[in-house]
């Protein structure tokens, strides 16, 4: 009796390995897509793997950020909830869920969820970060600041630094914000954060510089952002804005079109329409404006709580004043940040409700944010109210903060300012300008 047990054992074990198919180890590089596929693979083998569901949720959130596709947030929510069903005590999944709510503009649930995550693990800085983000949108600036500071103490990283930067920017300290963002970027590059996170920070730096009227620096940061994450839609649109300010309109149009090809954001379409209008192509401009309304209509169909852009669009283009005001006021129901008051103020102004508009714009300006758009809106409201000094002051501040803030409104601000100055007399105007 000749048995070959050893060989038989080997053949059987090899057969066993191949019966399972080849080992599908995570593919090289681990891009977001391969990461998603990897966790799905794990879950196909073991549908009760709570950690894999958590990993899948994390990867889907990153995908949502990269593509701007909100569908991925819904999938991420599903994955994270499954993970929590399987294993309730995962603070990471709780925190990610808070981020999903935040991204869908469900700010109050996001804050509540973040607090739950903090209760489970008070040492997780990221939970404080998301709590702060949600509080910022609700308009609880002091509480938000507190949350960010706690985050910073626990975890000095790209994520905490960039959040502090955002807060400084809102409080009228662009230099501080830029310094924080630079540090955030250094931290992110040192610890090899995901490419999108790095690109986001670079884009944010571009935005800060642009807000201060520094076109060269803004351009450089947007270009770097595009290097970190090619075809990054935020950076494409940012660069388009710079090109518009530089009066390189054809390049601006091309860049806006590229950004829209990745993600049709209504604000990009509106900005592209404005450039078309400025360069004498009203038909093309109208097409873009129609697209903005179409997206707004779809958002209503899909019950998306996200129509601030449409409200701004209506007021900016002097159309559908009543609808714009309604949309803006709806925003206040779940979001009371300074821009919620700004969009209400701007729409009230277009509806001729000037006193209410003045009250609203004061609330928008309460943090001392150095944003040319806010100053311009304030200037226009005071101008309509007949408060010439205030109007002049705000319009001058708008242009002083960023003379390129808008392809149409920057010119308008300069024109009105000039009228006001000539009305007051050149000597007084000169005096005012130096004083302001």
């Amino acid at each position: 009796m000749k048995i070959r047990p050893h060989i038989a054992a080997m053949i059987l074990s090899i057969a066993l390995v191949f019966a399972y198919g080849p080992s599908r180890l995570p593919a090289q590089g681990m891009t977001t897509d391969t990461q998603i596929a990897y966790y799905q693979q794990l879950l196909r083998r073991d549908p009760r793997n709570a950690k894999a569901y958590y990993g899948l949720g994390d990867a889907l959130i990153r995908k949502a950020r990269e593509t701007g596709d909100p569908n991925y947030f819904n999938r991420a929510e599903e994955a994270l909830k499954k993970s929590l069903d399987l294993r309730a005590g995962n603070p990471g999944a709780m925190r990610h869920l808070a981020y999903v709510f935040y991204s869908r503009h469900e700010f109050a649930p996001a804050a509540a969820q973040a607090r739950k995550a903090i209760d489970m693990n008070a040492a997780d800085g990221n939970s404080y970060g998301i709590l702060g983000d949600a509080l910022l949108e609700i308009g609880e600036y002091d509480e938000a600041k507190e949350a960010y500071q706690k985050m910073m103490r626990l975890d000095d990283s790209l994520y905490s630094r960039s959040r502090l930067a955002g807060l400084k920017s809102l409080h009228g300290d662009p230099a501080g914000a830029i310094a924080d963002l630079e540090q955030a970027l250094a931290a992110g590059e040192a610890t090899r954060h995901p490419a999108e996170s790095v690109a986001w920070t670079q884009w944010q730096l571009g935005c800060e510089h642009f807000a201060s009227g520094k076109l060269k620096e803004a351009e450089a940061h947007y270009l770097r952002s595009l290097q970190s994450y090619p075809n990054y839609y935020r950076a494409l649109a940012g660069l388009a804005q710079v090109r518009g300010a530089q009066k390189r309109y054809e390049e601006a149009i091309d860049l806006y079109q590229k950004a829209l090809a990745v993600l049709p954001m209504p604000e990009y379409a509106a900005a592209l329409g404005d450039i078309y209008g400025k360069t004498g192509r009203p038909e093309r401009a109208r097409q873009q404006y129609e697209l903005v309304e179409y997206i707004g209509y779809l958002n209503t169909l899909n019950k998306v709580l996200y129509n601030r852009e449409l409200a701004y669009f209506y007021a900016d283009h002097d159309v559908k004043a009543q609808e714009g005001l309604e949309l803006a006021r709806q925003e206040l129901n779940y979001r009371r940040d300074i821009y919620a008051y700004d969009v209400v103020a701007w729409n009230l102004h277009k509806n001729g409700k000037l006193e209410e508009a003045r009250e609203a714009i004061d609330k928008a300006l309460r943090l001392g944010t150095k944003d040319a758009k806010l100053f311009f809106h304030a200037g226009m409201i005071y101008h309509a109210l007949g408060a010439k000094d205030k109007a002049k002051e705000y319009l001058a501040r708008a242009l002083g903060t960023n003379p390129y803030f808008h392809p149409i409104f920057a010119d308008m601000a300069a024109q009105i300012l000039k009228q006001l100055e000539t009305a007051l007399g050149p000597a007084v105007a000169e005096n005012q300008r130096q004083g302001g």
Partner: protein, 533 residues
């Protein structure tokens, strides 16, 4: 014109569900069908509400079937889409001609139109495909960066065989008409494909009416041979590939030459729960098979020569063992053996709790591979260097006194065994069983490490239990046989040159190869080695 279409859209708007992939998605689908003298490309674009609106705006079309505004638009679209596609065979770009086109406007959210465009492109190959392998490269560069479902499949027509394909042969979305929406089926993002194909022998071609499915790329089995033959081909005289423009409306050589589109069938969304249940049930079947195989492995393992386990039987023969002793000793050896392997698995599991799995697995795979390789090398060398292996084995089975000879832990016992008539104590049984079983043996280790490299540590542990069950069953059976029929041992000798030398050598060589394969795969997935193709 644009205003008319906008008005039309808003008038016909009803209430239908939104596009399953989001209002602004653009989904791609490519089906590459390789025939003997042509390659067919079935290309479908599915635009959700917002991109459809943009198309309507920019082109001034009316989204209604048969509308005259569509004629020129479709021709331009076919051209524009083709410019974004690259189909190469052996580095030569194929000229694609549109054979058939279709456009439909299924209603989406609120009855707003969505749009599907399908084009059947065809690229003729210069001459008939020969038996040497060809390399097909495909890239879809349309709508870069836009979210959507991006799927490519490749199928071989009769007479053609794929030796490798980077894409599957069946689709998951029924040509973009039925998107799976569960969590485990997130949209594929495939925009490139590589296929190696060749003509098959005519007899084989005739026998196969159905198109052959491509082998999965990630299966490591046949890789090396194909790459090798491809490399050979590259160095030999290059065959000239001339892309010939296809004749207008020529007879379709492959497929039916028509493209048909379907609206999304999302009325019955697939429940993720049933999907999971399905995979779970499938899993149970596979696990049962795996368990049975593991039991068999354990049984074979008990019969392996030169591993000190037959010592159990030998001991019982020489020490007046009873049936109860045989049972105990079998169980103890098995228990110790299982514990040894578990210890290793436990460490692995523990490590995976604290390290991000996706970082850990390539390294675990690598460790497993290296361990298996060195184990194989060690066994091979030991067996090779042991000049007269048969002697020690004869010892093992006949003289029953020295155990496996190589293991010093057994030496202590050998003194007692010549004392006839001595009662077998439980302590002795334990010492013997544990020392004989604790060292993880190659076969069990291979099973466990394979499971680890497949990211199934839990299953690996279960398999070890099954393995041990097989082991115990055979050990106990042998023990019982020994107790009641000592002479059986002599019929069971395996001391011929073949079984004592060549078989162990071959088997350790197998282990080495297996380990090297695992190591290479782990290195690839860790990104250290470039993945070929």
């Amino acid at each position: 014109m644009a205003m008319v279409s906008l008005a039309w859209i808003l008038l016909t708007a009803g209430s239908v569900t939104a596009h399953p992939l989001g209002n602004f998605s653009i989904s791609h689908y490519s089906e590459i069908r390789v025939g003997r003298d042509a390659i067919e490309l079935r290309y479908i674009i599915d635009m959700a509400e917002i991109p459809t609106f943009q198309e309507i705006q920019e082109n001034g079309i009316t989204p209604r079937l048969g509308d005259s505004s569509l004629d020129g638009y479709l021709a331009r679209k076919v051209e524009a889409l083709r410019n974004g596609l690259l189909l190469e065979v052996d580095g030569q770009r194929l000229l694609l001609a549109a054979e058939s086109t279709e456009i439909i406007f299924p209603p989406g959210a609120g009855g707003l139109p969505t749009m599907k465009v399908g084009v059947l492109y065809r690229g003729r190959l210069a001459g008939k495909t020969a038996a040497d392998p060809y390399l097909l490269n495909y890239r879809d560069g349309n709508f870069p960066g836009r979210a959507g479902w991006k799927e490519i499949i490749a199928v071989a027509d009769s007479g053609i065989g794929f030796s490798r394909s980077s894409v599957p042969a069946t689709d998951r979305s029924s040509q973009l008409s039925d998107y799976p929406t569960d969590l485990l089926n997130s949209p594929p993002q495939t925009l490139e494909a590589r296929v190696i194909f060749a003509a098959q022998a005519p007899t084989a071609a005739a026998a196969r009416a159905e198109p052959r499915a491509a082998t999965d790329l990630s299966r490591p089995g046949s890789n090396s041979s194909v790459t090798a033959s491809l490399a050979n081909k590259k160095t030999s005289t290059p065959r000239v590939w001339i892309a010939v423009p296809p004749e207008k409306k020529s007879q379709p050589a492959v497929g039916d030459g028509l493209i048909r589109l379907e609206a999304n069938r999302q009325a019955t969304p697939k429940s993720s729960f049933t999907e999971l249940m399905a995979t779970k049930q499938l899993g149970v079947g596979i696990i049962l098979i795996a368990l049975a195989v593991a039991v068999g492995l354990g049984a074979f393992h008990a019969l392996e020569p030169g591993h000190g386990k037959t010592l159990v039987a030998a001991y019982l023969v020489g020490s007046r063992g009873t049936m109860r002793h045989a049972l105990w000793l079998g169980l103890i050896v098995t228990g110790a053996h299982t514990a040894g392997v578990y210890l290793l698995g436990g460490v692995t599991l523990y490590a995976s709790q604290y390290v991000v799995p996706e970082r850990l697995y390539p390294w675990l795979g690598l460790t497993s591979g290296v361990m298996i390789t060195s184990l194989g090398l060690f066994l091979f060398l030991r067996r090779y260097l042991t000049k007269d292996d048969s002697y020690s084995h004869r010892h093992d089975h006949v003289h029953h006194a020295h155990g496996s000879g190589h293991d010093p832990s057994h030496a202590g016992h050998s003194h007692h065994r010549h004392e006839p008539g001595r009662e077998v104590s439980l302590r002795e049984l334990l010492a013997l069983g544990i020392s004989g079983g604790i060292v993880p043996c190659p076969a069990a280790l291979v099973v466990l490490l394979s499971a680890v490299s497949m990211q199934r540590i839990g299953l690996g542990l279960l398999l070890i239990v099954a393995f041990s069950v097989g082991l115990a069953a055979v050990l106990i059976a042998i023990g019982l046989l020994m107790v009641y029929a000592r002479r059986f041992m002599f019929r069971f000798q395996m001391n011929s040159r073949l079984t004592t030398r060549w078989l162990p050598l071959t088997s350790s060589a197998f282990i080495i190869l297996f380990g090297v394969a695992l190591t290479l795969q782990a290195l690839q997935s860790a990104g250290i080695l470039p993945a070929q193709l």
